[in-house]
């Protein structure tokens, strides 16, 4: 057992505890509050009045999947050989020794949603996994191996029709790839439930949790047309949709609020490299939150921005996002979107002891992340 005492604890979900303590046993928070007693053999760590936050969660990253600084041989996030590949699993391609993990930890990320990446020809790219950012063996780092099914819509997903005519080469075809997969999987699921004998299909098996709304379908959609098409398809098959990047989200914030769609927004500093980003604005997060959309601010770590999640939030705050929402957007909101809120996202009894010991005001330039703990162990 460990007792971390003498800290200002921002629990995110139940206020700030001054002069507080956290008691940790077997990696979990056993108790939290003021005046916590512990056994005589308990290790006591005095935090000298520093501030504790729950570890940040990056709602979308490619850590270890698109490895840092080793070129093509380390890129396992994008596979354009199958337009619909729900059978590909994120955790089968993650290298825990990719040094982007250390950078992410420096930035306060203790849990990352690791996802296949967007790219032409990969419309349904595979499963997303929630992973702790420290470890030697991916199987031991997994919080939940299947938290979402990742897809891409819009120009990013299609082959350029006139230059590289390969299916799918139009946005209508991209939609058709998703619809076809959903339709076939639905038939597979219904037959399975009816006890009808059929060949085992690993791809359709992975779509069953999507059809049952146990995990969301997470779709990269930037242009408002693609956002609306994603909503249209999700309604046709009654699946839970989460939108990713949403560069034009500020233009349709009211619609997204009305539809109750969660959004993974960011990165706030985004290269305006192609037409998908022509109306991108730093205001997206603030506008969505203002209209009542639940947002998560992503660092897209593993893609050159691994230590920036706090900066992402700060930039969104500069555009009018309130600080409380910004903090939720990198902690509890992400946990809720991916059904991880029983174990991470806030500092509460029973949850993982993942936290950051910090100095300086959060979201300011002076904010310093010192010791980082995952499951009660110091990882940096």
């Amino acid at each position: 057992m460990k007792l971390f005492k003498n800290a200002v604890i921002n629990t995110v979900t139940s206020g700030v505890i001054t002069n507080g303590s956290i008691l940790v046993e077997n990696g979990l928070i056993k108790d939290i509050g003021k005046d916590i007693k512990c056994d005589f053999d308990c290790e006591i760590i005095d935090l000298e009045g520093k501030t504790i936050y729950p570890g940040f969660i990056d709602g979308h990253s490619h850590l270890g999947l698109n490895e840092r600084a080793i070129g093509k041989v380390g890129q396992d996030g994008h596979d354009e050989t199958f337009p619909a590949a729900p059978e590909l699993r994120a955790f089968d391609g993650i290298n825990p020794h990719d040094d982007a993990f250390d950078i992410a930890i420096r930035g306060g990320i203790t849990t990352a949603i690791i996802s296949p990446s967007s790219g032409i020809g990969a419309v349904i790219a595979g499963t997303m996994s929630a992973v702790k950012t420290k470890g030697d063996c991916i199987d031991e780092m997994i919080v939940d191996s299947f938290v979402g099914m990742r897809g891409t819509m819009g120009p990013s997903a299609k082959f350029p029709a006139l230059i590289m005519p390969k299916f799918p080469s139009s946005r209508t075809s991209v939609s058709a790839v998703i619809r076809e997969l959903l339709l076939k999987s639905k038939q597979y699921m219904l037959k399975k439930e009816a006890g009808i004998k059929q060949a085992y299909m690993i791809s359709f098996e992975n779509m069953i949790p999507v059809l049952k709304q146990e995990v969301p379908l997470v779709i990269h959609a930037n242009l408002k047309e693609d956002i609306f098409t994603a909503i249209r398809i999700a309604k046709e098959y009654n699946v839970k949709l989460v939108l990713l990047f949403v560069a034009e989200g500020h233009l349709v914030a009211k619609d997204l609020a009305k539809e109750g769609i969660d959004c993974l927004v960011g990165p706030v500093y985004q290269g305006h490299t192609r037409p998908e980003y022509r109306y991108h604005s730093k205001k997206v997060a603030a506008e969505l939150a203002k209209h009542g959309v639940r947002i998560s601010l992503i660092a897209n770590s593993g893609n050159g921005k691994s230590d920036s999640i706090n900066v992402q939030a700060a930039l969104a705050i500069a555009q009018g996002l309130d600080e409380k929402t910004a903090l939720k957007a990198i902690t509890i909101n992400v946990a809720k979107i991916f059904n991880l809120d029983k174990c991470v996202g806030s500092l509460e009894v029973g949850k993982h002891a993942d936290f950051l010991v910090t100095e300086g005001r959060i979201f300011s330039r002076d904010f310093l992340i010192g010791d980082v703990y995952i499951l009660g162990e110091k990882v940096n």
């Binding site: 350029p160 029709a161 209508t172 058709a176 037959k191």
Partner: protein, 386 residues
């Protein structure tokens, strides 16, 4: 509420102008009468003509967004010539320039969807030209299944050594797909729509069922008479409801089109013959087909030619002899009837959507300008500023 008073209202049935007042409430035409007096906003249309909003019966508006390069080109899948499962609605950006142009010239409804590089391209959708979310603009979705004959599918695949390389192959592949769809439909009907009681689902064949059941027309891109006749032959074999788009050589086979009850959506007929299959293009086709008893509508194929020119294309048809009232019908009620959304738009009648154009001249005059354009009862364009 909005009241348009004293205008000369065009009647699509009689082709005459009558001095009438139009009361608009909740986006619909509530009442038409020789004198209505209500304490609501009034547009005085004294001395002006009042038309139902114009309809461009065939476009790729918002599907092709050419100014942004390959990212904005969604007109055609280019890797597979059989695509009934594609839906035009999935890629339409109503903030492209064409939609703004359409409103400014009085085009209030357009039919938009996939192009003609494929044997089967996917479904078209009828949309209002005002809005930012395509789902909220729909007049009717899946108004037609697009297919194509002739040069386009031949060139885009044949040039790469892929079928269809010939006109014969085009027809064979279409026929083959329709046969498969028919078998699939039978299997599905026998299963009573229960997915567990049928063989593997097929999203392509699934999409063709409404065509085989005559619930959705099939719209064939065909310029040359022989391509049109190929289409008529296949349609007859499968008993399909058909629409012919372009029908550039329709005037050579007017009697065949009339007896096949094939509606024709003509245009764009300004052409300097860039395509071989358009060699015989003429604005005379319109008159000849109409007089042979074929129902015609006029289209711009926007953005292939600008939607701004829709009234001008009707005017050119009149210059070549088409009856004036019929030319206006060809950009209003005929287009709606061909696709089957005439209950919503296409004429000024009580109960229909309040889509209205007010202008000093007729749209058939070269000096035509829209003064006020109304969509769903809202003034969305005024030449002198709203």
């Amino acid at each position: 509420m909005l009241l348009i008073k004293n205008g000369n209202v065009f009647d699509t049935k009689t082709g005459e102008y009558n001095k009438l007042d139009i009361l608009i409430n909740d986006g619909k035409i509530e009442k038409i009468s020789s004198s209505i007096n209500e304490d609501v906003e009034v547009i005085d249309a004294l001395g002006m003509n009042v038309y139902p909003g114009f309809i461009d019966a065939h476009t790729h508006m918002g599907v092709m967004e050419l100014v942004i390069g390959p990212d904005g080109y969604d007109n055609n899948e280019m890797a597979d010539p059989i695509n009934p499962q594609l839906r035009g609605i999935d890629c339409i950006n109503p903030q492209t320039r064409s939609y703004e142009d359409a409103r400014s010239v009085g085009v209030t409804t357009v039919v938009a969807g996939p192009g003609s590089q494929n044997i089967i391209g996917g479904t078209h959708v009828a949309l209002k030209t005002s809005g930012y979310r395509v789902d909220d603009m729909v007049v009717k979705n899946h108004v037609a299944m697009k297919c194509a004959f002739g040069e386009n599918p031949k060139k885009s695949y044949g040039d790469r050594g892929i079928a269809p390389n010939t006109r014969r192959a085009q027809v064979a592949m279409l026929r083959d797909t329709l046969y498969k769809a028919k078998e699939y439909m039978k299997m599905k009907d026998a299963a009573g729509d229960d997915l567990t009681k049928m063989g593997p689902v097929d999203i392509k064949l699934e999409a063709l069922i409404p065509v085989l059941k005559r619930e959705m027309p099939i719209k064939g891109h065909a310029h040359r008479a022989d391509d049109i006749l190929n289409f008529l032959r296949v349609a007859k074999e499968f008993n399909l409801r058909i629409i012919i788009v372009h029908a550039t050589e329709g005037h050579l086979i007017a009697d065949k089109l009339a007896s096949a009850n094939a509606a024709c959506i003509l245009g764009p007929s300004f052409s300097d013959g860039l395509k071989m299959e358009m060699k015989n293009v003429t604005f005379k086709t319109h008159k000849i087909l109409h007089e042979a008893g074929v129902k015609i509508a006029i289209q711009t194929d926007a953005p292939i030619s600008p939607v701004l020119d829709l009234p001008l294309m009707a005017a050119m048809a009149v210059k070549e002899g088409l009856d004036e009232a019929e030319a206006i019908r060809a950009i209003t009620i005929n287009a709606a009837e061909i696709y089957g959304f005439q209950d919503r738009v296409g004429s000024i009648d009580e109960g229909k959507d309040a889509d209205i154009v007010i202008s000093k001249s007729t749209p058939l005059d070269f000096e035509y300008l829209a003064e006020i354009v109304i969509i769903n009862g809202r003034k969305i364009y005024s030449r002198l500023g709203v």
